[in-house]
Symmetry: C2
Subunit: 208 residues, 2 copies
DNA sequence: AGGTTAGTGACAGCCGCTGACAGTTGACAA
DNA sequence: TTGTCAACTGTCAGCGGCTGTCACTAACCT
């Protein structure tokens, strides 16, 4: 059961989040001030900073949620799966259930548009990459535990996750600049790229 | 031949750079203000911003140089080498010649210490990762041209570079937190990790 | 109903960064 | 050498992100 106070807090937070994303996606991240966001929700600037650590934080808040869902999905994968397979499945599963993950806070539509804003805003892209790096570290530990190896001496968990993350980023980037910017296309694109990693590494591309 | 004006400019720039790195590495990036850096060189804050785009910029200036050297090294690799092999050789070569690349501006010692500061400062790490992403894009294009494939339709150049970059970052991170933080150890570590990527991807780690 | 606590607004201030303008110093030709 | 022009610098004023402080209001809990 949720008390009135908690309900109010949640509503303010989500209002701020929605207003921020709406402004960021429509008029750009840099051209949006914190004052503007606060004004749109009719709270003081100070209050904004009580809910979010900063402008970057609110911009990446939803990504944070989906990343958490991804980590949880990796944890939930059956133990018999090979590492890379587990990552692949968890990732695709994340996109399948994206609606349930996100819609309670902001429309999925807005979330997708925000992805493009992040990718095209240097400051946000930097923050996003840093977050991704942190998530990769978490997943490396999950993987290490799953496989029963020591993450501090065996580099394989981190290497596998780094490679996976690299492929994901290439997919994301391609997807953001692509024309069919839909929920299905990111799934197929990522799956396709994951299949092609092998041939990209070993091999002479010229004999294609 | 260098005119007096140019000499003065170069000296101011390098003084600012050295002072900044010295302050960053000794008392921390966030605890160092731009005013402090300017004061250490006895110029106005405004002048600092005429030489560097910002605080981040000066912190990553040397990394920028070494990345440029790396890109050049990739370009100079013989055409018969396979893509991943070319990247590997160029990277190791970059560390072999690091002294010539860096010492004319700042002591290598300082450059190495700065690496650790970057890795342990969220804002700098974010900026560093963003720069790396940009460099990866450049290298993907170099590789594509080398191999005669179209970078816009063939994902393999970007995938290969992303994987390589991922391994590099794992190495760097490990190296920064390691005890033998020397010029040789990053070489051996990277080479070792590049060799292990294969087994990290394919394979069941539990049968080790 | 009344004391306690959580959440808010208003204000002051630091820091990174930028635009505008005036002063100074080196470059180059008369 | 001197005068002119361009480059470089300092000063000042100001914006936006962010934080500390403190008084005030609203919800919570007997």
């Amino acid at each position: 059961m949720e008390t009135l106070r908690e309900r109010k807090k949640r509503r303010t937070r989500e209002s701020l989040l929605r207003a921020a994303l709406e402004l960021f996606t429509s008029q750009g991240y840099e051209r949006t001030t914190v004052d503007e966001i606060a004004e749109a929700v009719d709270v003081s600037q100070r209050t904004f900073f009580r809910y979010f650590a900063g402008k970057e934080d609110v911009a990446l808040a939803v990504q944070k949620m989906t990343e958490a869902a991804f980590v949880a999905a990796v944890r939930a994968r059956p133990a018999h799966e090979a590492p890379m397979q587990a990552l692949r499945q968890a990732f695709l599963e994340g996109w399948d259930t994206i609606r349930e993950t996100v819609e309670s806070v902001v429309p999925v539509e807005l979330y997708l548009r925000m992805y493009r804003t992040i990718e095209s805003t240097p400051a946000l892209l930097a923050a996003h990459l840093r977050r991704s790096a942190a998530t990769e570290e978490t997943i490396a530990r999950v993987l290490a535990e799953r496989e029963g190896v020591d993450v501090d001496t065996d580099p394989r968990p981190r290497l596998a996750v780094a490679v996976f993350g690299g492929v994901i980023r290439v997919s994301e980037r391609r997807w953001c600049t692509s024309e069919d910017f839909g929920l299905e296309s990111i799934r197929t694109l990522t799956a396709e790229y994951l299949d092609q990693v092998g041939s990209a590494l070993t091999g002479n591309w010229r004999t294609g």
